[in-house]
């Protein structure tokens, strides 16, 4: 005990330095996660005190919540697979292509691809709403009508059939963010001698080069990129509501887990139930990142 306290006192500068971060980290990240887990075992309407109900929320979620099982969960998986791994592979591929080009062109192109990621979310909803506007004046409708591809204007963001594709395209458009830059920087830093050596050892074409040399060398950046892509996918979860302007989205076509949480928390004030959905979401995120770690991590225990 004495040595423990002495250690603390000896390292007091270090503790002071990490304290502001550690305290905020605890209050705004650790505590909310614990809080969500705690609330998920209760019913709570923000007026009366929470009442303990055991696993009832989870049982309801998986056995009685038809909207969750038939719309929200399948939507989330479709969206997450296309935007997550899909966007990630696209980002790696584009980063690799751009890295093959000489310096000046490379910089300009990577800036151009990165720019949309700064315009994600609400900043650009004004664009999408005009482009995908449901009447003839909408740019996409007017363009397709002009080409004769369609005869009737399509109400893109309010249609059960089109809302999801629009969400995926808009999100992919803005997904060449920090992860993309990280992977490109990683690819550019691969020692050219490795490629030289590879050629001597019988690496025949570019694809083999990517598989045997580039990917193993860039693994740490790819892991960072993967983690960023998981976070971005999650953050994009509000896009359906932003585009269609309503929660729930039309016929639940664009309803993702995040919207379902919002719906129950801030419209029906069933905080306990909403918390149970958040816990499920946290689990999904945690296991996706475990998967990313298994694929790209070099450390077994992380």
């Amino acid at each position: 005990m004495r040595t423990f306290l002495r250690d603390i006192w000896r390292d007091r500068t270090s503790y002071l330095m990490v304290a502001p971060f550690a305290i905020c980290f605890f209050i705004f990240i650790v505590l909310p996660v614990l809080g969500a887990i705690g609330l998920s075992f209760t019913t709570y309407n923000m007026v009366q005190a929470p009442k303990f109900v055991g696993l009832a929320n989870y049982v309801t979620l998986f056995t009685e919540d038809d909207i969750f099982m038939t719309h929200v969960l399948p939507n989330t998986f479709t969206f997450a697979l296309l935007v997550g791994p899909g966007g990630y592979i696209l980002a790696f591929f584009l980063a690799w292509l751009i890295a093959q080009l000489p310096g000046k062109i490379r910089t300009v192109l990577s800036l151009a691809l990165y720019t949309p990621s700064m315009a994600s979310g609400v900043a650009m909803s004004a664009i999408w709403l005009v482009v995908f506007s449901g009447d003839r004046v909408g740019y996409l409708n007017s363009f397709l009508l002009g080409l004769g591809v369609i005869n009737e204007p399509i109400n893109w963001v309010h249609s059960e059939q089109w809302l999801m594709p629009v969400m995926v395209i808009v999100t992919l458009w803005g997904s060449m963010g920090v992860g993309f830059l990280a992977m490109m920087a990683g690819i550019l830093n691969v020692d050219p001698q490795l490629y030289e050596a590879g050629r001597i050892d019988g690496v025949k074409n570019r694809l083999q080069e990517i598989y045997y040399i580039t990917i193993p060398s860039v693994k740490p950046q790819m892991l960072f990129g993967a983690v960023m892509s998981i976070v971005n996918t999650l953050q994009a979860g509000a896009i359906g509501v932003t585009l269609s302007g309503q929660n729930p989205t039309p016929q639940y076509a664009g309803q993702l887990i995040l919207n379902h949480i919002d719906d129950f928390a801030f419209q029906r004030f069933e905080m306990g139930y909403a918390a149970a959905i958040s816990v499920v979401l946290l689990f999904i995120v945690y296991f996706s990142s475990k998967l990313a770690w298994a694929l790209f991590g070099e450390r077994e225990d992380a």
């Binding site: 971060f21 614990l34 990165y114 700064m118 007017s142 490109m184 983690v227 958040s278 991590g297």
Partner: protein, 281 residues
């Protein structure tokens, strides 16, 4: 330039096409923001603006009505919140990542592991407990509610730590021999040599706070304390089938987007330099 082979030329053309296509929506918002009302109502719609005007901006910024909060107020709030948040996050994250990188102390490894796990933390998933915490701390309707949640920034701490790891220990020891204490080392040695990472963290924080409308929705009830993205959100809701508001909304979108772009263009080389060290090992 002269040394490009044929594959590179084909590749350049293809990627330039893609980049141009991806920039179309951005160009579009610029066009839209400067269109007079007559061109916004045009059918069929025209991409280019013929008679650019500042009408949308004046309409947006000059509307003063006692009943509603003027747009300038939202802009002011956004500027204050973003500037303070950037300063605080840079300071707090640099101090923490220096200690995590160069010091040994009890609990260091645990905090580091937690930080790395928290890289994938998305605050949206736990909005309810966050809201309850802000409420308990009596921070509803304060500027602090806009700022403090962002100070828990695992990505910033992680990026800075990866960069500080590269700083040679001999340099720090030399500074210590010259009589510098640990705080002086952070401000006089670490901050200057880690400029690229510090700039990157400043940029990422700015983008996150400047574009974020969540605190305004959930933690702020007083309209006069809400920020620009929230204001933009009110302008664009229900816009899909309404042409009249599109000019003002486009102008407001530009006001949100352009600061991001300018900040990034100034910092881009430093950002790419930092990202080379972003690998998780």
């Amino acid at each position: 330039m002269s040394k490009m082979d044929r594959t590179q030329i084909v590749l350049t053309i293809m990627l330039t096409g893609l980049a141009a296509f991806m920039l179309l929506p951005i160009v579009f918002i610029f066009m839209q923001a400067f269109k007079p009302l007559s061109e916004l109502f045009l059918y069929p719609p025209r991409f280019y603006v013929m008679n650019p005007t500042l009408q949308n901006f004046t309409q947006l910024l000059m509307t003063v009505d006692a009943a509603v909060v003027p747009a300038v107020r939202y802009i002011f709030n956004s500027v204050v919140v973003s500037v303070v948040a950037v300063a605080v996050v840079v300071l707090v994250s640099t101090l923490a990542s220096y200690a995590l990188s160069k010091h040994q102390f009890r609990g260091r490894n645990m905090l580091l592991d937690l930080t790395i796990i928290a890289l994938m933390f998305a605050p949206q998933a736990v909005l309810i407990p966050r809201y309850l915490i802000i409420q308990r701390l009596n921070l509803i309707d304060t500027y602090i509610a806009h700022i403090l949640p962002f100070v828990a920034a695992p990505v910033s701490v992680f990026l800075l730590k990866q960069f500080i790891d590269q700083a040679p220990n001999e340099l720090l020891d030399a500074a210590r021999i010259d009589g510098a204490n640990e705080w002086a080392i952070v401000f006089r040695v670490i901050m200057p040599i880690c400029r690229p990472a510090v700039s990157t963290v400043a940029l990422l924080t700015f983008q996150m706070v400047w574009n974020n409308m969540e605190p305004s929705i959930y933690f702020i009830e007083n309209e006069a304390l809400r920020t620009l993205p929230f204001f933009l959100g009110t302008l664009t809701s229900g816009l899909a089938n309404n042409v009249a508001g599109q000019g003002a909304a486009a102008a407001a979108s530009l006001l949100v987007f352009v600061p991001n772009l300018i900040f990034f263009l100034f910092q881009q080389s430093k950002v790419i330099q930092t990202m080379a060290h972003s690998g998780i090992k």
